[in-house]
C-alpha cells in the first residue's frame, strides 16, 4: 500500500472546518481571570513612579503587578537569549521593565480582573510616570556617534560584530576581477502576523506546586526549559506546557516572551487560572519582528564571467533586547547562505548586530536565509545586466555542477547534494521564456504598461544540525528531534513527536510515514504532540525541520519496532530471526509463504508475553532521538512576471512559476500548500509589507490598516513543479519546504520590476515596491525630480 508520496486529505481538518478546533482562547473555566498588560507608549524613557491604586480599585480587578512584585515573588524574572555568539553583548531583559523602557510596547505592569473588559479598562487607569528620551531605530544609524544608547552596557549599541569567510582571499578575488558590481539593499522589517494572536493561560496549583501553561508555542519543551532557566525558576517537572491548536507561527511563536512569564506569575500570585490574549495592536508591538537589514554588497567576475569574489557588509538590528534565537539569524543562518547555488571561491560576510529602540527581531519564516538569498540573487541580476548577459546565463555559468557534490562552500556549509540546471530549465520551459522576451520587446516599443521578468535560483539550508555543530556555533539547545512510536496491543499505533505543529499537517504526514512502513491504514495511527507531560523532550517546529528531522526520528523508531517484531514473530512462528521478513504489514518466513503473522498478532503477544522469547522485554515501543548528520539543502528556480504601470507606479504580479527540489515528497498536496503560503509571504514582502518606525520610535504600521498584508485579490495562482534530488543523509530523503517560498520569492519579484524598468536605467528600488516608490523612481529617471 503506497501512502507515502500521495495527496491524502488532512486528518486534522474535520475539527478545523467545523469550529471544533480548540485554540488557546477557546479554553475557559469558571474561576478564570483575565490579564491586560500595560505597555510603554514611548520608545525610550526613564520609568518613574507607577501608581496602581486607581486600577486596583476598579471593578472586577483582583491584582495589579509591576517589576517590584516580580522581585518580591522571588522569580528570576528575566527573558533569556538562547543563542550565544563570541563577544555577544548579553543585556538584561526583565519580564516587566525596571527603571527604563526600551521600545513602544515594553511591558511595565499587568492588571488582572474577573473579565477581559474589566482588565483592559483598569489597565487604562495605571498611572505611569515616564521621562522620554531620544530614540534610535535605524539598524546602521544605531552605531553613529552620539546615537542614544539602548543599553548603557552596550557601547555604540553594538550587540555583536560577526565575520564569516575570508577577507584576504576575497579582496584578492576583487583585485583580479574584470567586473565588480555593487549594490546597496534594505531588507525591510516585517511583522509575522499569524492570524491567531499570541495567547497564554497559566494555571498554578499551589497544592502540588505545578504550573500548567496552555499557550501559542511552536516548541513547548523549549518554552518550558527557558521558563525554568530564566523567567520563572520553577523545577522543570513542575511545569507543563501545552500547545493546543496553534493558529500559525511563522517563527513568531518560537520565542519565549515576557508575556507568558508575566501571566504565570499572576496565576502563582492569585492562585487562579489567568488568561491573556494579545490584541492585534500588541501583536504588532510585541511579536518578534523579522529581517531589518541594511546591506552593501559586491560581486566580482572574471573575464569569463565566473564569480571570483563576493563581499557583504550588513547592519542587522536585534531591536531593544535579544530575543530567543535572534543572534543566530543574521549570522549563522545568513552568512552561511552567501554562496547560493554558485561555485564561489572567495566570500567574506561581515555583520554588525545593533540594538535599537524597536521591537526585538528574531526568526521569521526563512530567518536569515531570505535575507541572504535577496543579496545573492539581486547581485546576480545586476551583475548579469552589467555584463550584458542574460540573467539565466550568468547563473548557469556559475552553478555548482552535479559532480562537485558534496560541495564545500567558503561560508562553512557543505552542500550534500544538488542538481541546479534541470530546475531552471523546467521553470524556463513552464514560463515560455523566449516567447516572453518577444512580448516584452513589443511592450517596450509600444509604451504604456511594461513587462518584467525576474529570476531567483535559490538554495536554503533546513533542519539545522547536527547538535554538536549548532553548539559550537552558539546554540544553547540541541537540534535533534525525538519520536516515540507505540504499537498498541491491538496493532494500532500512537506516535509521540517532539515536533509540535501549527498548521503544517504533521498528523497527516507523520501518519503516512508510519502507515507506509507498517503496512497499516493511516487511520490506525494517532499522532500526539504539543504537551510536555505527554511527549518526551522535543525541539519543536521551525526551520523547515519537521519532516527531515522529526519525520526521520519516526522512521527510525518504526525500524526498531519492526526489528523487535521480527524477534517476537520468529518465536511465534518457530523460525530463525534472520528468516523472518516484514512486508505489507505481515511478518513472514522466507521460503514458507503459508507462515505469517500480522502486526496485531505480534503486538498482542508483545503485551501478553505469554508465549514470548525469554531474552526479550514485553511491550512494543521504540524511541529515537535523531540527530542529523548535516543540514538539508532544498533548492529551486523561481520566476516572476510583473506588469508595471509607468504612469502610476503600480506593480501587478502577472505570473509566478517555480520549480523546486525539496527531495522526496510525503504528501504533494501539503508540500504545494507550504509553497503557496511561503510565496504569499515573500511576495508580500516584495510588494506591500513593511514595518515602519518614525524617528521617535513610534511604530507607524501598528495596525492592519497600515501594515499591508497580502490579500486574495492581489495574488495569482502559482504554477509549480518539482525536480527530485533526495537528501542523501536522512532515511526519508526529504529536505523541507516550509520556508522555500518566502526565501526564493522576494528577489524574483524585485528582479522582475527592475527588469521592467531597465529602459529607465533604474537599478534598484527598496522593498516594498509600493506604487509611490516605483513612481518616484521612474520620475527621477525621467529627470522630473521625485517631489
Amino acid at each position: 500500500m503506497a501512502v507515502l508520496g500521495t495527496s491524502i486529505r488532512r486528518r486534522e481538518d474535520p475539527a478545523l472546518i467545523t469550529g471544533k478546533g480548540r485554540y488557546t482562547d477557546d479554553f475557559s473555566s469558571p474561576t478564570m481571570l483575565h490579564a491586560a498588560i500595560v505597555r510603554s507608549p514611548y520608545a525610550h524613557a526613564r520609568l518613574g513612579a507607577i501608581d496602581t491604586s486607581a486600577a486596583a480599585a476598579a471593578p472586577g480587578v483582583v491584582g495589579v503587578f509591576t517589576a517590584k512584585d516580580v522581585e518580591a515573588a522571588g522569580l528570576p524574572g528575566m527573558v533569556p537569549v538562547g543563542w550565544l555568539l563570541p563577544d555577544l553583548k548579553v543585556v538584561a531583559h526583565p519580564i516587566l521593565a525596571i527603571d527604563t523602557v526600551r521600545h513602544v510596547g515594553d511591558g511595565v505592569a499587568v492588571v488582572v480582573a474577573e473579565d477581559r473588559y474589566q482588565a483592559r479598562d483598569a489597565a487604562e487607569l495605571v498611572d505611569v510616570e515616564y521621562e522620554p528620551f531620544d530614540a534610535v531605530t535605524d539598524p546602521a544609524g544605531a552605531t553613529a556617534e552620539g546615537a542614544p544608547l539602548v543599553h548603557a552596557d552596550a557601547p555604540s549599541n553594538v550587540a555583536f560584530d560577526f565575520e564569516l569567510g575570508d577577507s584576504e582571499s576575497t579582496e584578492a578575488g576583487f583585485a583580479s576581477a574584470t567586473q565588480v558590481t555593487e549594490i546597496e539593499l534594505r531588507n525591510q522589517r516585517l511583522i509575522p502576523h499569524a492570524i491567531e494572536p499570541r495567547a497564554t493561560i497559566a494555571d498554578y496549583d499551589s497544592s502540588t506546586g505545578k504550573l500548567t501553561v496552555r499557550m501559542t508555542t511552536q516548541n513547548p519543551h523549549v518554552h518550558r526549559l527557558l521558563m525554568v532557566l530564566a523567567s520563572l525558576g520553577l523545577p522543570e517537572h513542575k511545569i507543563r506546557v501545552i500547545a493546543p491548536e496553534v493558529g500559525g507561527g511563522f517563527g513568531s511563536k518560537i520565542h519565549h516572551y515576557a508575556d507568558e512569564a508575566i501571566v504565570a506569575m499572576c496565576s502563582m500570585q492569585l492562585g487562579r487560572p489567568v488568561k491573556w490574549i494579545a490584541t492585534r495592536g500588541e501583536t504588532n508591538l510585541t511579536d518578534a519582528h523579522g529581517r531589518d537589514h541594511v546591506t552593501k554588497a559586491a560581486i566580482a567576475l572574471d573575464a569569463d564571467h565566473k564569480i571570483v569574489g563576493l563581499r557583504v557588509d550588513t547592519y542587522a538590528t536585534m531591536g531593544a533586547y535579544l530575543s530567543t534565537f535572534a543572534p543566530s539569524v543574521p549570522t549563522f543562518l545568513y552568512a552561511t547562505l552567501m554562496s547560493g547555488q554558485y561555485d564561489i571561491p572567495a566570500i567574506h560576510c561581515h555583520v554588525v548586530g545593533t540594538f535599537t529602540h524597536t521591537t526585538p527581531v528574531d526568526a521569521y519564516r526563512g530567518a536569515g536565509r531570505p535575507e541572504a538569498t535577496f543579496v545573492v540573487e539581486r547581485l546576480m541580476e545586476e551583475a548579469a545586466k552589467e555584463a550584458g548577459l542574460d540573467p539565466t546565463e550568468l547563473r548557469r555559468k556559475n552553478f555548482v555542477q552535479p559532480d562537485q557534490f558534496p560541495y564545500q562552500t567558503q561560508v562553512a556549509l557543505e552542500y550534500d547534494s544538488g542538481n541546479y540546471e534541470p530546475a531552471l530549465d523546467r521553470a524556463l520551459e513552464m514560463v515560455g521564456y523566449d516567447d516572453f522576451r518577444s512580448q516584452q520587446s513589443a511592450r517596450r516599443a509600444g509604451g504604456g504598461k511594461q513587462l518584467g521578468i525576474g529570476f531567483s535560483t535559490y538554495i536554503e539550508a533546513c533542519g539545522l544540525a547536527p547538535s554538536a555543530v549548532a553548539g559550537s556555533l552558539g546554540a544553547q539547545a540541541g537540534l535533534w528531534e525525538s519520536a516515540e512510536v507505540r504499537v498498541n496491543p491491538t496493532g494500532t499505533v500512537t506516535v509521540y513527536t517532539g515536533s509540535s505543529a501549527h498548521g503544517q499537517g504533521h498528523h497527516t504526514t507523520f501518519s503516512q510515514i508510519v502507515a507506509e512502513k507498517l503496512g497499516i491504514d493511516v487511520d490506525a495511527v494517532e499522532v500526539i504532540h504539543g504537551d510536555t507531560d505527554a511527549v518526551q523532550f522535543g525541539m519543536g517546529t521551525y526551520g523547515s525541520r519537521s519532516a527531515a528531522v522529526g519525520g526521520s526520528a519516526i522512521w527510525l523508531s518504526v525500524d526498531k519496532i519492526i526489528e523487535k517484531g521480527r524477534r517476537i514473530a520468529a518465536h511465534l512462528l518457530e523460525a530463525a530471526v534472520e528468516d523472518v521478513e516484514f512486508a505489507d504489514g505481515q511478518f513472514g518466513v522466507k521460503g514458507a509463504p503459508d507462515k505469517s503473522l500480522g502486526l496485531a498478532d505480534v503486538s498482542l503477544q508483545a503485551y501478553l508475553a505469554h508465549n514470548y522469547p525469554a531474552d526479550l522485554e514485553p511491550g512494543l515501543v521504540a524511541t529515537t532521538f535523531y540527530d542529523p548528520a548535516n543540514f538539508t539543502y532544498p533548492f529551486g528556480a523561481h520566476i516572476a512576471i510583473v506588469e508595471v504601470d509607468t504612469e502610476t507606479g503600480e506593480v501587478e504580479l502577472v505570473r509566478y512559476v517555480a520549480c523546486d527540489d525539496v527531495g522526496n515528497v510525503i504528501n504533494p498536496m501539503i508540500v504545494d500548500g507550504q509553497l503557496h503560503g511561503g510565496l504569499a509571504q515573500g511576495i508580500g514582502q516584495a510588494l506591500w509589507e513593511g514595518a515602519v518606525y518614525d524617528d521617535s520610535g513610534q511604530l507607524l504600521t501598528g495596525s492592519l490598516m497600515d501594515y499591508a498584508m497580502p490579500r486574495a485579490h492581489r495574488l495569482v495562482n502559482f504554477e509549480l513543479d518539482r525536480t527530485t534530488t533526495p537528501c542523501p543523509h536522512n532515511p526519508l530523503g526529504v529536505k523541507g519546504v516550509g520556508e522555500a517560498g518566502a526565501i526564493a520569492s522576494p528577489p524574483a519579484v524585485v528582479n522582475a520590476v527592475v527588469d521592467a524598468l531597465s529602459p529607465y536605467g533604474i537599478r534598484n528600488i527598496d522593498m516594498p515596491l509600493t506604487p509611490e516608490k516605483v513612481w518616484r523612481a521612474i520620475a527621477a529617471a525621467n529627470g522630473e525630480g521625485s517631489e
Binding site: T18, G19, S28, I195, G247, G248, I277, R711, A712, L715
Partner: protein
Amino acid sequence: MKHTVRMEVNGTSVEKDVEPRTLLVHFLREELGLTGTNVGCETTLCGACTVLIDGKSVKSCTQLALQADSMSVTTIEGMATNGELHPLQQSFWDHHGLQCGYCTPGMIMASAGLLSQNPDASEEEIREGLKGNLCRCTGYQNIVKAVKSAAESM
C-alpha cells in the same frame, strides 16, 4: 446595566442578559460557548470572526451583540446539517483550503455570504469577494479553488 438580547443562533432561539458593550463575537464565544468563531484583529481587518447575520456575512468583532437583536446568526457550528458537512466545508477539506485553521471558520462564512449573493462567482470575483479575509498560511490559492469547486457543487 444589562440588557436582554434575543436572537436565533444556528436555528436555536437564545435569550441572554448582556452588558451593552458586549461584542457579538464575545457573546457567541463566551455566553453561548460557540468558540469556532475566532478573533484575529478586533478591528474588522482580518475577517477571522465572520459570521452570517440574516444570511449576510458580517465581522462579529465590531458588532455589538445588541445589534444582532432579533436577527438570525449562523456560525461555523451551524453549517453542517445532520452530521453532513456543508459543501464549503467539504470543499475546503478536499482542496487543502486550510492549514492552521484559524481563519477558516471566517473564511467559510465569508464564502457562504459571497456565494449566496453570487452563486456562479468567477475566480476573480471570489478573490475580490474574499479580500476582507486574511489568511497567512495558504496564499489563498487553495481557498479560491475550494470556493469555486463548492460553488459548482451547490
